[in-house]
Each structure stands twice: as structure tokens, then as C-alpha cells.
């Protein structure tokens, strides 16, 4: 059952088209910056965008910052919302369940397919943006980055340390291995964050037969959460909102890594996944399927 759902996901053109579109935005931004040499000044524009001109290997971080707020959640909500509601709309849900397949197993298979999509999307954006960044902006070899000529006696910070590949948000240098480890950590947190979105959309997909209804319902939850996250009066509930720790992946690029919000980000998303999957199971396993 899981293999069947994976196969269905992978052979759908819309899966690949949506992933291609997600990858296209960072590529387009990189091309514009490379052609015009008009990168946003430090401190302005999307996170890390000003730094990629120095080192293209940092571009995956900038690309994730570009797609995370809107495009990635929309794509994930549409795919997850389509899981059950799409079958009902197409009139195939009844036939799916005629097979000797339990509803819980079907739900699990759909969930695994959504997880696969999320991983594919995030990893594709990361890889294409890494290649784009290195191709357009270059990746400086560590020994070429250090500028020992700038060192000044008695000042620990007078020069850039040799062996560094990129700069953390705290100003300290990162080696290429550290950079790749941190990008992997950011990918993991963003993937889990998108699973939270997917779980909400999957639950709504068991409630309604409308794909758009399920997807927009999940997006409405996210927009509502974003509004409350910025409201001081809602401070007491902010730690429990689904989008509260979405930007915590940036904490991987501080030195030392700021684990507090990262841990909370993983934790709150796992709670949302558990709660909404349980609700989806409770609803779908006893639902009167008519379509």
C-alpha cells in the first residue's frame, strides 16, 4: 500500500512541476543578483541573501528563507489536502477501500507519501540552490578566504581566520563541514515544520471532500498563527503556535548554535503532527465514505 501511494505520488506530473517551481524562485533570484550585481546590502532583504555574494555555498540557507514563508507551505498544504479529499473528489476513495486495506493503513500510506513529498521538495530546493550558488557566486577554497595580512598584533580579531568557508550570524567563521552540517540541520527542522502543515491539511482532507477546502483550511491556520505570533497581547500562547519556531532553523547559523528554539521547534511540530494525525485517524477510520 505504501509503495503504491509512493508510486502514484512520483508519477504525477504536478508533483514534479510544483517542486520545479519551488526550485525556480531561488534560481531566478540568484540569476538576477549575479547579472545585476545588486545584492541587498547587509541587514536588508531575505536572510543570508547579502552574504551569498561572498560565498555561494551559503545560498541554500538564503533559498530556504525565500521559499519557507509562503511557497513551501502552500505546496505542502495542497499535496496533503489532496491526499484523501482528492480521492473522494475523483470518486476513487470507495474503490480504494473496497480492496482488503484498512483505513488506518491507507492513512499511513498517504502520510508517508506526503512525508516523501516534503523531503523531496526541501532537499531539491537545497541541492539546486547549492549548485546555483556555487556556479554563479563561487565557493571560495578555505585557504583563499583567510587574509592573514589583516592580522594586527595584540588584537584577537584583527584578521579573518584561515580555514573558514562562511561567516555565521555571530561573525565567527564556519568551516565547510560545519556549514554543511548546519544546512542539514536546517533542512531537518524545515522538513519537520512542513510535516506539521501536512498533518493539519491531512486531517482537514478527511473532513471535507474539497481539496481546496482542506488546503486553504490549513493555510488559514498558518496565517492565523502568524498574526498571533506578532501580537504582544498573545504572548502567553505564542510558544504553542505552529509557526512560532519556523524561523528557528536560522539559529543553526549562530555560533554557538542556539539550541533552545530549535528543540522547541522540533517538539511543537511533533505535537501538532501527533494530534492532527490522531484526529485524522479518529475521523477517517469511522467516516461514512460515500464518494
Amino acid at each position: 500500500m505504501i509503495a503504491v501511494e509512493q508510486f502514484k505520488l512520483l508519477r504525477r506530473p504536478r508533483t514534479w512541476i510544483s517542486i520545479a517551481l519551488l526550485c525556480a524562485l531561488p534560481v531566478a533570484v540568484a540569476v538576477f543578483i549575479a547579472v545585476t550585481h545588486l545584492a541587498p546590502p547587509p541587514g536588508e532583504g531575505a536572510a543570508f541573501l547579502s552574504a551569498v555574494v561572498q560565498d555561494g555555498s551559503l545560498y541554500p540557507a538564503a533559498a530556504l528563507a525565500l521559499v519557507l514563508p509562503v511557497f513551501l507551505p502552500v505546496a505542502v498544504a495542497l499535496v496533503a489536502g489532496d491526499s484523501i479529499a482528492g480521492e473522494a473528489t475523483a470518486g476513487t476513495l470507495r474503490y480504494l477501500l473496497i480492496r482488503p486495506v484498512g483505513r488506518t493503513r491507507l492513512l499511513v500510506a498517504k502520510l508517508v507519501a506526503v512525508i516523501t513529498y516534503v523531503l523531496l521538495a526541501v532537499v531539491s530546493v537545497t541541492l539546486t540552490s547549492y549548485l546555483t550558488g556555487v556556479f554563479l557566486f563561487g565557493s571560495k577554497p578555505p585557504e583563499a578566504v583567510g587574509r592573514p595580512g589583516n592580522f594586527q598584533a595584540g588584537i584577537p580579531t584583527g584578521g579573518v581566520q584561515a580555514g573558514s568557508s562562511a561567516t555565521s550570524l555571530s561573525g565567527a567563521p564556519l568551516t565547510l563541514v560545519q556549514l554543511l552540517e548546519r544546512i542539514a540541520g536546517a533542512v531537518a527542522l524545515i522538513t519537520v515544520s512542513m510535516l506539521g502543515v501536512a498533518a493539519i491539511a491531512l486531517f482537514l482532507s478527511t473532513v471535507t471532500d474539497s481539496v481546496l477546502g482542506a488546503a486553504f483550511g490549513a493555510l488559514a491556520v498558518l496565517v492565523g498563527s502568524e498574526v498571533l505570533v506578532t501580537l504582544n497581547a498573545a504572548a502567553s500562547i505564542q510558544p504553542y503556535l505552529p509557526t512560532r519556531y519556523w524561523l528557528a532553523w536560522i539559529d543553526f547559523f549562530r555560533q554557538p548554535i542556539f539550541w533552545r528554539d530549535i528543540q522547541r521547534g522540533f517538539g511543537i511540530q511533533l505535537v501538532y503532527v501527533a494530534v492532527f494525525l490522531a484526529a485524522a485517524w479518529a475521523n477517517f477510520s469511522t467516516k461514512d465514505v460515500t464518494a
Partner: protein, 373 residues
């Protein structure tokens, strides 16, 4: 009669609801856990806090201030610090060796203090600045809002004559904390009380709340959300530079350049019955009067800059003042009061500001423009 399917659905939903209820109750259960602290008097706790200055620690703290300061040109950083939430990562090895990072979602501004110099890293401009020398006088900075720094500063300012009482213990950053209320002994001070919770064994302050007179909510509160008492590694306390970053140096004494418009600094030895205290070297133009939490500062501005400050403060909601030969404005916030007075008989504009109420500053201002003193 409930059908078999409906009964099964109800059981499954009940299971989900029970799980959600348990998850929702966990924060309440956590905060309701009993707090166990050894009993000690308020005096003992104050002594222990004052002795904790050199403790090493590392943690994460948040401050929330509501000073209600008007927008002042060139002081936006201070206004943001004293009106809003500041998120800080903190490492301290010793009083002269520490680091405080102010975090925002996609950037950070770090201050390093080493025994020899201090450094400021701004991720927005990708610039590391070395500050040479010590600031004789400086504006408030985020490191001042870290709970131990603020608690120590306030306790020292309140002095031994302040009244201290015990507060109920509470849990702060997962630690049991003993509470202390300090009521300043400074007539005319805007500070009504200061509540401090500290780890009883070490005396490390974990939470501070400062209340103005007539305010039910603290004008500023700062607390650790995560803290541990370990000595941070030197690699954390010394700034390092990555590729693409810039480096510059500045002199702490340059601050006096910002006071170019100051008048000659001929100020009386006392105002409103409060004696003038010695100003830092190089800042003789600034008069500081009173003691502890009832202190206010006076300076005299030359030229027309004072008049533009007065009109700006009026536009920001300041209360206008007018006399036969002078105009002025009063700006009152829960903790800080400022009076600006421009007299046609005395050249320039007097600026008076501090932790004292409006009446004190108005009396002091009238003494200043009453010639001679």
C-alpha cells in the same frame, strides 16, 4: 441507541481528546509543581545576591520594558531597548569577561567584554567594532538588562537604607528561586518597588521586576528562561571574524563629541535640597544630584538645539510649561521624568531627567533659572 460504528467513533475521539487535554495541561502542571527553597531572611538573600557578582553563568534571558519613552532623534536603539522585548544570550566568566548577544529572527548584535577591551558585532552590517578604553558615561545597553546585572545595579543604587521584605518563592527557568522586595528610601523617587528572585544557594538573580509609582504592571521585567552556572569557554568570550566581515576601532571617549552643544557647566552645588555628586572625569558639564534611586541629571544646551527639543517633546505628548521669561515641557513616563526649560534671562536650555517625580524636577528647574545661585 448508539450504533456500533458511532460508539467506535466516540471512543476514538475520546482517546484523541484525552491526549490533547493531557498535552494542554502539561504547562499548567509544570508551573504548579511545588517550589522548595531553604528559608532565609530578606537581609540574608540581599547579601547573597550582592556577593554573586563574580559568579560564572550562561543562559538565555528575555526582558520586557514599557518605559513609554517618546521618540528621540539618535536614540532609537535606547528607545527599542526600554520599550519592548529584548532576547539575549548571555555568557559570563567574570565581571570583566562576558558576552551578551541580542537576538532577532534573522540577525544578532553581540557585545563582548574582555579584561582589555570591548567589542561590538553587528550581523546586519557585518562589522566588528573594537571599543578602546572604558566609557566614562554611556547610554543603557542590552547587557544592563540581564537579570544579574540589573539586580546588582538596582540593589546597589537602593543602598542599605532601602526596606527589604520576603516574597513567595517561585520557579524561574526551571529553578526554585527565593524572592525579595526592595522598597527604596528616596523621597520623590519614581521607583515604587523592585522584586528580585534569586537562586538561594548561589544568590544568582534569575528574575527582576521594577515598578513605577501608580503602575500595576512592572515598567521593566527581565528573567532567565534558561540558565546554568558553568564557566563559559574562552572561545565563546573572544570575538572571531569570518570571511566578508569588516573590522574597525573606535574610542570610548568619542562620546564626549556628542555633547558639543553643552553649555559651560556652571551648575549649583545643590538643587531641591539634593547635593551634587561628582561627575565622571571629562563630564563636568553634567550635574548629577541626589542619591540612589532618587537621582537626576542636569545639563545645559547652548544654541537653538534646546528649543527644537522642546517643540519635539511637545509634539510627542509632553506637557507644556510657560512662565514670564521661559518656556518648557515635562515628559513623564512610569519611571523616568524629564523637564526641558528655555529661559530668555539665562542663555540656553536646561535639561533635567531622572528617576524622580515631576514636582522635584520642576522645583529644581525653577531654582536653575532663578538668578543667581
Amino acid at each position: 441507541m448508539v450504533s456500533v460504528v458511532a460508539g467506535r467513533a466516540m471512543r476514538r475521539w475520546a482517546l484523541v481528546a484525552a491526549g490533547v487535554a493531557l498535552l494542554c495541561a502539561m504547562p499548567a502542571i509544570d508551573s504548579a509543581l511545588p517550589v522548595s527553597v531553604p528559608r532565609m531572611s530578606a537581609i540574608q538573600l540581599r547579601s547573597r545576591i550582592l556577593a554573586s557578582a563574580s559568579l560564572p553563568y550562561a543562559g538565555y534571558a528575555e526582558s520586557n520594558a514599557a518605559f513609554g519613552l517618546p521618540s528621540l532623534t539618535g536614540l532609537s536603539d535606547v528607545a527599542a531597548l526600554l520599550d519592548g522585548v529584548t532576547r539575549m544570550r548571555v555568557w559570563q566568566a567574570a565581571p570583566d569577561s562576558w558576552r551578551v548577544d541580542v537576538l532577532s529572527d534573522v540577525s544578532e548584535q553581540d557585545t563582548y567584554q574582555t579584561p582589555h577591551a570591548s567589542y561590538i558585532w553587528d550581523s546586519g552590517s557585518e562589522l566588528l567594532t573594537e571599543v578602546l578604553g572604558r566609557y566614562p558615561v554611556r547610554l543603557p545597553r542590552p547587557a544592563d538588562l540581564v537579570p544579574p546585572a540589573l539586580a546588582l545595579r538596582l540593589l546597589r543604587a537602593a543602598g542599605p537604607r532601602a526596606r527589604v521584605t520576603e516574597l513567595a518563592p517561585r520557579r524561574v527557568a526551571g529553578l526554585s528561586a527565593e524572592g525579595l522586595r526592595v522598597i527604596p528610601d528616596n523621597p520623590g523617587s519614581t521607583v515604587a518597588q523592585i522584586d528580585i528572585w534569586a537562586e538561594p544557594a548561589s544568590g544568582l538573580p534569575l528574575q527582576v521586576e521594577m515598578f513605577g509609582r501608580g503602575g500595576g504592571q512592572p515598567a521593566i521585567e527581565t528573567q532567565f528562561l534558561q540558565v546554568s552556572s558553568w564557566r563559559p569557554d574562552n572561545a565563546v568570550l573572544i570575538p572571531q571574524r569570518g570571511p566578508g566581515t569588516a573590522f574597525t576601532q573606535t574610542d570610548a571617549a568619542d562620546l564626549s563629541g556628542a555633547l558639543n552643544d553643552l553649555g559651560p557647566g556652571l551648575l549649583p552645588v545643590s538643587l531641591d535640597g539634593r547635593a551634587r555628586v561628582d561627575a565622571p572625569v571629562g563630564f563636568d558639564q553634567v550635574g548629577v544630584y541626589g542619591r540612589g534611586l532618587g537621582t537626576f541629571a542636569v545639563l545645559q544646551l547652548d544654541g537653538s538645539s534646546g528649543l527644537s527639543l522642546i517643540s519635539g517633546a511637545r509634539l510627542d505628548g509632553g506637557i507644556p510649561l510657560k512662565g514670564p521669561h521661559w518656556v518648557g515641557v515635562v515628559v513623564s513616563t512610569p519611571l523616568i521624568t524629564a523637564v526641558l526649560l528655555h529661559s530668555s534671562t539665562v542663555a540656553g536650555t536646561f535639561v533635567l531627567a531622572g528617576f524622580v517625580d515631576r514636582q522635584v524636577l520642576q522645583r529644581a528647574a525653577e531654582e536653575l533659572i532663578a538668578d543667581p545661585w
